[in-house]
């Protein structure tokens, strides 16, 4: 068969010259696609080193509080001036749920208020940037054990007096941001963050300073209205929040007056 008269029919043997050219084309195409894939990998912006100990159960003992959000206060001993140092572990539920419903359900079952009681909690730790979260294990009975029936500690009054602030940053859902999802910020994560915050996970505000360091604020409503519902239209956007800041142990709490978008 003359080279120029070669004709490919799928169910017949491939003509030799066509086969030769085809091999070159397929190899070149494969190389181009794989090199493009490697380029796409290498050009990613990078990921946080947050950790989610998925599948690993950790048991923690501390004092349970729901003010301003569900947290477990763990006594880390006294500091040089003799004051108790508390580490606050934020509590969240399984999946895209907050811990509040779960704790209320447990209180009902146990017939006792768990507020300010010493408890053992089991769950999976999530931690990043010096902050820790505990995802309560989805085994309803095993995840909480009452150690003491008396109130062991009260959430201290705000350590600092409220300070009026105007902060620029992004509203995040802390469960994803601190380690469950990567990336846990920005537009690609917006839907997930909205779902998490709708499900009761307490919203937080991430503020990055000029040095690139992040500060995190627990968001709180000025009145009894739900902060979760209020922040939903602003999640994952760059916003300015006017409000006042208090410090509760090792967390800052930002009481929100006004949220303003800074980007379209």
């Amino acid at each position: 068969m003359k080279k120029e008269d070669e004709f490919y029919v799928g169910y017949l043997p491939t003509p030799p010259s066509t086969r030769k050219k085809l091999i070159r084309i397929v190899i070149a195409l494969g190389i181009v696609l794989i090199v493009t894939g490697i380029l796409l990998v290498g050009k990613q912006r990078g990921f946080s080193n947050g950790t989610f100990e998925f599948g690993k159960e950790t048991s923690l003992k501390g004092v349970l509080t729901t003010n301003p959000i569900p947290m477990l206060l763990i006594d880390k001993g006294k500091n040089a001036s003799g004051q108790h140092q508390m580490e606050s572990i934020v509590l969240v539920g399984y999946g895209k749920h907050g811990a509040e419903d779960f704790l209320q359900q447990k209180e009902k079952e146990m017939g006792i208020s768990l507020q300010n009681k010493t408890v053992n909690l089991k769950g999976s730790l999530i931690y990043h940037d010096g902050k820790a979260i505990l995802e309560l294990t989805n085994k309803v009975k095993a995840s909480i054990g009452l150690v003491s029936t008396v109130n062991d500690i009260r959430m201290p009054d705000p350590i600092t007096p409220p300070v009026a602030v105007k902060l620029h940053g992004e509203i995040i859902d802390p469960k994803c941001y601190f380690g469950v999802m990567k990336p846990g910020v920005g537009k690609p994560h917006r839907d997930c963050a909205i779902r998490c915050i709708s499900g009761g996970i307490p919203p937080m505000f991430k503020v990055t300073n000029a040095l690139g360091e992040n500060n995190y604020f627990i968001l709180k409503s000025k009145n009894t209205s739900s902060i979760n519902k209020r922040v939903l239209p602003f999640v994952a956007d760059q916003v300015v929040i006017d409000g006042s800041v208090n410090q509760y142990n090792d967390w800052m709490v930002l009481t929100v007056d006004r949220i303003t978008l800074t980007s379209n």
């Binding site: 084309i25 990998v41 050009k43 990613q44 990921f47 946080s48 537009k187 917006r190 997930c192 499900g199």
Partner: protein, 345 residues
Amino acid sequence: MSIAYTSVSWNTNKKIYDGILLGFVLTYLSIFICACLIIYPEITIETTLIRATSTLAFLLLHVILSIGPLARLNKIFLPLLYNRRHLGVTMFLIALVHGTFSIFQFHALGNISPLVSVLSSNTHYTSFIKFPFQSLGLLALIILSCMAASSHDFWLNQLSPKIWKILHMGVYIAYGLLVMHVLLGVIQLEHSPAYFILLAFGVCWVSTLHVLAAWKENKRDSEKSTPSADGFIQVCDVSEIPENRAKVVTGLKERIAIFKYQGKLSAVSNVCKHQNGPLGEGKIIDGCITCPWHGYQYLPHNGKAPAPFKEKVATYNLRLTGTKIWLDPKPNEEGAEVMPLDLHL
């Protein structure tokens, strides 16, 4: 060609095609995942899988969309077109893994159904920049699933080639949706301009190929002769048609293929009944016009597929004046017998 429906009519070339495709898919995923885990040890496996499958499916979609015009521009790409349906279904399955994984990751275990969540979590439907890009991906996935589900020849025959072709043109809508899915999604997070540049290059590449292929065909379509009193149009000289090949001309509306074979001339519709392939770019093999796309065959003198096959295309009347070929652009019925012009007379 097959008269009975089987899931896949395997032959050596299809097996080689699918083997290479599977090998490539596994190689790409392995390299992408390993590179991610090495360069970014802090990445989660979920993100790695979501990104590996999304990039692979999107790259394969570019290849799929390029094969058609490339095959029109250069015959060497025709073998890639032969089994393009398997490539399309493979791309859809990879996209399905990406979509399923993403919906589970971002929407499952919440307080509403994951599918409802995809459409209702981000409600900025009136904003371009904030537009819920995941809903665009879901819509594209639905279109691709319709195409994958109807890709078999059974559906081609049930729906008719015309309807089937229209349905499968939905790939361009899906492509547009996916371009926006990427543009309004991950590109808004990534800092590197490489993502935007690659996306723009991909869109330009696909568009340019289609424009070039269309320009080539339009150029041929615009070559029209003035009809004679009896309606015949002068087409070309006999010497312009190679043996066992055809010249394609545009008649009233349809393209017509005039074949020269064994000292004879016959004219049939240029449109294959299988997938509207260009018969005029085919060849006479074993006395039959053979479509360059999937090898469907027709007898040149009556446009009928050889028994036991039943496809048939329209035939056309020809006339010879000296060495000039004249064509009546009015089609005969599909399968109508027309005595070939004998060049020896």
